[in-house]
């Protein structure tokens, strides 16, 4: 089997903000190449990897989406050699002061996010959290150098270096959702040596953090019979409510709610029990917050299932996962696909 830790280090060290996924896509292509029959890129930049099934044509197909885009920042003005910034994706501005970043200008520039000192803020902004509009990036260069190297619209990635503990946990930025990309890679690795009737479309989607645009358009284009979202979910830790989080190292989650088809939920739940893969149920009463929200309503509508990998401190540069949860998520999806037969879609009904 592939070594997940080196792959994950490589994946989360590559830039690839929403809309700018070209930094990470080649790494995923390289990882998927041995396990797929063909690789292509959608018009918005999502990576499509096809693993052909053994069934007679036309074969049903399943699309597994793991988004490859990352949250981050973008330069929206330059003032006296400092960069003003805007966020791409949902970021709690309270994690930004003092954060190390890489500015993707005419060359890569290391920088640091700094708050305007209270003494220089408008009086009404001096108490409380410094709003994004008064945070700056300092790249340590003289103003003339900055204007030559940076322009409005340049993206900014977090530069927090990843680290692991005992080869069991991994901490760093963008584990949302490169951890799921690794799980999908692991899934493809398993399926490569296990016969499966269905065609499998592994899709590393773009722009999940902004519009779900990648998943929506790829689902339209590939027109699969079923969709799976592989994403991260909230890991238990003291600052988050216990009823909405899932412990690290105790297996993936399976979404339950209007986005998830009940028959798929039941099938996977039973499968996990049979295989003794620990699996928590994650209720999502309205939205799943994943690519499935878009894939569900692509074209005529597609049955969806959502698999989550627990992760602490989501959307901060210090996200944390346990590797075992990644392999379990990948294995669960692979085993589900192996047992899909030509008649599965006929069984997929509503038990009303």
């Amino acid at each position: 089997m592939i070594e997940l830790l080196p792959l994950l280090y490589e994946l989360i060290s590559a830039p690839g903000l929403s809309g700018y996924e070209n930094g990470v896509r080649p790494i995923i292509e390289k990882a998927w190449e041995p396990f797929t029959d063909q690789l292509s890129t959608s018009r918005l930049g999502s990576l499509h990897g096809l693993q052909k099934g053994t069934g007679g044509e036309p074969r049903p197909s399943i699309m597994i989406a793991a988004h490859m885009d990352a949250i981050g920042l973008m330069v929206n003005a330059i003032i006296d050699g400092f960069l003003r910034i805007t966020a791409i994706g949902g970021i709690d501005v309270r994690v930004l002061p003092g954060q190390m970043v890489t500015v993707h200008g005419r060359q890569e520039l290391p920088g640091m996010i700094v708050p305007t000192p209270a003494r220089l803020l408008p009086s009404r902004a001096q108490a409380g959290v410094v709003p994004l509009e008064y945070l700056l990036v300092d790249v340590g260069l003289l103003p003339d150098e900055v204007v030559n190297l940076v322009r409005v619209g340049d993206t900014i990635s977090f530069a927090q270096a990843p680290f692991n503990t005992g080869g069991e946990t991994l901490t760093g930025h963008t584990l949302d959702n490169r951890a799921a990309v690794a799980a999908l890679t692991y899934c493809l690795d398993i399926l490569h040596s296990r016969p499966h009737v269905w065609d499998v479309w592994a899709v590393a989607t773009v722009q999940e953090e902004t519009t779900y645009g990648g998943a929506l358009t790829s689902a339209f284009q590939l027109h699969p019979s079923l969709c799976v979202s592989l994403d991260v979910t909230f890991g238990s830790e003291p600052s988050s409510p216990s009823h909405m989080t899932f412990p690290l190292g105790k297996g993936p989650t399976l979404g339950w709610g209007p986005v998830v088809h009940p028959f798929l939920f039941k099938t996977i739940k039973e499968l996990a029990e049979r295989l003794e893969i620990p699996l928590s149920t994650e209720p999502a009463p309205r939205y799943s917050g994943t690519d499935s929200d878009a894939m569900l309503v692509a074209a005529e509508g597609i049955p969806n299932v959502v698999i989550g990998i627990p992760l602490r401190y989501m959307h901060t540069p210090v996200e944390m996962i346990v590797l075992k949860d990644v392999t379990r998520a990948g294995r669960l999806v692979a085993e589900f696909i192996v047992q899909l037969d030509e008649t599965f879609m006929d069984k997929l009904t509503w038990e009303d």
């Binding site: 959608s42 619209g153 339209f220 284009q221």
Partner: protein, 333 residues
């Protein structure tokens, strides 16, 4: 080009009620069209060029609708309460005049305020049409009106209502008129219902199924007093703006680069645009069907969504020059 702009901005076309403006635009573009149609949502779609081996199907969109108001109640004394069509702000309403599609007019005023330091809410505003009872007042629930303000030519700066997005419409018309040769099938879409959620462009894009999409719309600026309050580097007169992102989309980076290269080839001034809120027809194009590379060429505009929006005429002319350059050659993304 100024007479065209004046004609466009002085025509009415609130979202969903674009008949008048569509017929004005239609008269302007019909002589230049290889094909012309109006779809179910009222989009006016004009094709120019037959395409070829190096060509693409390119959708160019500028919306013909404008923000406006819609009557919710006419009270017994003839005062008219209203709701908004699109992003109207209460502080630009008071003292303003509106004109209904029937030609009837009125002024907007407000109830006495308890707190003069606070902006009134729409519930505190009403239209006075000069009548004393509901029976005489010549409007009823559901009637729509636009802000009534004449075109103002300040030389290089132009002021009017609905420059958002009649200036984009003017740019497209002028491009259509001037373009000589194109390897592409160019679909000029004069779209509807942009201000209420890019609805017209959504169906137009699905119908056309283009390879590439470009909206031409206005964007805000950061060049007015207390400039540090606005995190925006766009100014009037520094060239058309190339959208990198707005509130609804990240422009396709390849489309951004295509426009930057085009502007640099012609040595035209240009600016990079990041708009914190709002979106354009480009969003609808980006997400249509299997997705397409989409972007937006923006005309910097002060006081967007007020009855006195302001653009720089040189920026407008440069936008036309750039657009013609962009669509006259094969596109390599």
């Amino acid at each position: 080009m100024k007479p065209l702009i004046q004609k466009l901005v002085e025509t009415q076309g609130p979202s969903g009620y674009e008949t008048q403006i569509r017929s004005v635009v239609r008269a302007e573009v019909e002589p230049y069209a290889n094909e012309l149609k109006v779809d179910a949502l009222g989009n006016l779609i004009v094709r120019k060029g037959e395409g070829g081996t190096d060509g693409m199907k390119i959708m160019l969109a500028a919306h013909i609708d404008e923000i406006g108001v819609m009557v919710t109640q006419v009270d017994e004394n003839g005062f008219v309460r209203f709701t908004t069509l699109g992003g109207v702000r209460p502080y630009t309403c008071v003292g303003g005049r509106v004109r209904f599609l029937s030609g009837a007019a009125g002024v907007i005023s407000m109830e006495p305020l308890d707190d003069l330091s606070r902006v009134p809410t729409f519930e505190q505003l009403y239209i006075d049409m000069g009548y004393s009872n509901s029976a005489e007042t010549p409007v009823r629930v559901g009637d729509v009106a636009t802000f009534d303000r004449p075109f103002l030519d300040l030389g290089n700066r132009l002021v009017a209502k609905s420059l958002d997005d009649r200036i984009g419409v003017a740019v497209l018309i002028e491009t259509l008129r001037q373009i000589k040769d194109t390897p592409h099938q160019l679909y000029f879409v004069f779209s509807t219902q942009e201000e209420v959620g890019v609805r017209g462009a959504t169906t137009a894009a699905f119908g056309i199924d283009p390879d590439l999409g470009l909206a031409v719309d206005v964007t805000g600026t950061g060049d007015t007093p207390r400039r540090t309050k606005v995190r925006m580097d766009v100014s009037l007169g520094k060239g058309p703006a190339i959208k990198v992102r707005d509130g609804g989309m990240l422009a396709d980076r390849r489309v951004v680069d295509w426009m930057v290269k085009g502007a640099e080839k012609l040595a035209l001034p240009y600016q990079m645009e990041i708009l914190e809120g709002g979106s354009t027809d480009a969003r609808a194009m980006q997400l249509t069907r299997a997705g397409i590379p989409a972007g937006c060429l923006s005309i910097p505009c002060r006081y967007v969504h007020s009855p006195s929006e302001m653009v720089d005429f040189t920026d407008v002319q440069n936008a036309v020059t750039l657009l013609i350059e962009l669509v006259s050659h094969p596109v390599i993304l």
